[in-house]
Amino acid sequence: MNQPPDQTVPLLQFDGVHAYYGPVEALKNVSLHIHPGEIVSLIGANGAGKTTLLSSVFGAPRVSSGKILHRGDDISATPTNLISRRSIALVPEGRQIYQDMSVEENMIMGTTPIGMDHFDEDRTAMFGLFPRLKERRNQLAGTMSGGEQQMLAIARAMMARPELILFDEPSLGLAPLVVKRVFEVLGEIAALGKTIFLVEQNANHALKLSQRAYVMVNGRIHLSGESASLLDN
């Protein structure tokens, strides 16, 4: 990795976080930390609370107790739209691109936190990373294949020049070959010096990519450690 993961303040830290959906406790005393330059994955079954954990970074749901710290600042009560200004980007589950907008407009939307100053440069970079998007730049995003939409969701997140990118199940509903390509892209993004927090059900792929991993069961962190050792389990 470009940056040695030895800086003392974590880029993102969950400190004893509890969160509820109505009466249901979705996150139970979750603590984890991600250092700059790391690739960390969070694996777990359906309904374990993985997506909740990621969306709680963006304040939906708000944590009821505990803290979410970004570079040491508590962001658990920060307005949602200001969180992306702290160089955190989310690639949401099920892609959630803007179906009725063109590929380029989707990418413009990605620049919301930083403005259009770097748009040309970043777009060229993204078209280099995803040649398919360049071919389809004027096509409606909703008419593309699932894999292409996933690429667009990643490109859109990258347009905000984030330090930390949260990926929510990027392999969801994609063909095995496409999944492989998605994970290659994640590796390329990590090589650019981005910190990656990857939430996945596909444990095999995720653990091969990441350095450290957490395993989540029923809203709790069940296991944590080096990815390689978890892979042996």
């Binding site: 963006f58 949602t80 992306s84 936190p113 004027n138």
Partner: protein, 430 residues
């Protein structure tokens, strides 16, 4: 194959006949006669037979070659949205032509037609306003008529209490209506879909009921009169009533009541043009894109850092402002306002304009506004059936062109160097 079709047809016919018999049986088969009723089941059966025959004819048409071709043609338009390639010819020439034609309309049209044209333009304005809220930002607003009423009553009551004139009202109305839009927007920020629709519906009714019941201030159901417009102190009445000079005296021509409508039409036409321009500009600006993004996916918007409070507020406020403008023109055109002009039916009609025009399409909204105001006039020959014909047209329209009259065009985007490096549209796949 043949027998297949036959059995399908007979099944459909039987079902249609049964359902229509159930419906027509009590409605037209039993006729009240004093305290008893006459049995005229034969009438119900014949009506049901007519309906069944109609159903069979439609089915036969659908399986015929022409019907299939028609259905395929309608289905192939994917979702009714095309992305521009940036190489389209600029429609400037046509726009200029339309502008001149529109501006010179009063000199050709008779008074009756000019009245319809003014009404059509008012609905254009309302449609454009609601299109921001519903079409672009995706917030279903069923109480849009409230802002229309605010604009209209601003002029009526303003002239009555503080001597506000047409021009003053034209300037203040967007701000006052925008303020009302903001008042409505705050409580509904977290609402979606059905819930939002119900709250806005309530808001529309509240405004109407206040206007209806606050007798001392608004005049209640008796309404309030609106003074005729003036231009630079010139008045459109036969004799000056507001301390100015009658316009026909000033220019030394004979009096005609038409001048007032010419004047209203031309100002209205210019305002509509300005609003169209503003909306088209907004659509390619970040704010407009945020509205559309919010309509598409609110969760994704939040994580991208879109301030949804600001985005929703501006949509409501700008939509309301446009509605307020329309209200001023409505008031000055009618010369009188009362609460019956601002019922839920108006809201529904404006919503129909937006939906029929294709949510989000400016050209579509304008077309739909023209169609929906001019069509009922053309249908006057059908007298009491015209609302029925109108309804049927809307049902047919929604079945065949659910994404609206006009295909939405998305702007292609080519900023700066990188845009020029890539030849526009060269790589678009068709």
């Amino acid at each position: 194959m043949k027998s297949n079709i036959l059995s399908m047809l007979s099944k459909q016919a039987l079902l249609t006949f049964t359902v229509s018999l159930v419906l027509f049986g009590p409605i037209s088969g039993l006729i009240l006669d004093g305290f008893s009723f006459k049995n005229e089941l034969l009438k119900a059966v014949s009506l049901a037979a007519v309906v069944t025959a109609g159903r069979v004819v439609i089915s036969l048409f659908q399986i015929s070659a022409i019907g299939r071709k028609l259905a395929a043609g309608l289905a192939s338009g994917h979702n009714g949205i095309t992305v521009k390639t940036g190489q389209e010819k600029s429609p400037l020439f046509i726009l200029v032509l339309l502008f001149i034609a529109g501006l010179s309309l009063p000199f050709f049209a008779d008074k009756y037609f000019l009245g319809i044209a003014i009404l059509a333009l008012i609905y254009c304005l309302l449609g454009l306003g609601l299109n921001i809220v519903v079409g672009l930002a995706g917030l279903l607003d069923l109480g849009f008529v409230a802002f229309y009423a605010v604009g209209a009553y601003l002029l009526a009551l303003g002239s009555q209490y503080i001597g506000l004139g047409f021009w003053g009202a034209l300037v203040i109305a967007p701000f006052l209506a925008g303020l009302c839009g903001m008042i409505l927007a705050f409580p509904v920020l977290k609402m979606h879909g059905d819930y939002l629709a119900i709250v806005t519906l309530g808001f529309g009714e509240i405004i109407r009921l206040v206007l209806n019941n606050w007798l001392e201030f608004t005049g209640g159901p008796n309404g309030a009169s609106v003074p005729p417009p003036t231009v630079f102190g010139l008045e459109f009445t036969r004799t000056a009533k507001q301390g100015g000079v009658p316009i026909h005296d000033y220019f030394g021509v004979s009096y005609s009541a038409d001048y007032k409508f010419w004047f209203i039409y031309i100002v209205l036409f210019l305002v509509v043009c300005i609003v169209i321009y503003a909306v088209e500009r907004l659509r390619v600006m970040p704010l407009g894109r945020m509205w559309e993004a919010l309509r598409e996916d609110e969760v994704a918007c939040r994580s991208l850092g879109v301030n949804h409070v600001f985005t929703k507020l501006t949509a409501f406020m700008l939509g309301a402002s446009t509605g307020g403008l329309a209200g001023v023109f409505f008031a000055v055109h009618q010369g009188f306002v009362n609460p019956t002009s601002f019922t839920f039916f108006e809201s529904a009609l404006i919503l129909a304009i937006v939906v029929l025009g294709g949510l989000g399409s400016t050209v579509g909204v304008i077309l739909a506004a023209l169609v929906l105001t001019i069509l009922p006039e053309l249908l006057r020959d059908f007298a009491e059936y015209r609302v029925l014909v109108f309804g049927i047209l809307m049902v047919v329209m929604m079945m065949w062109k659910p994404r609206g009259l006009v295909r939405i065009k998305r702007p292609a985007f080519f900023p700066g160097e990188a845009g020029r490096g890539l030849p526009a549209g060269a790589e678009v796949r068709q």
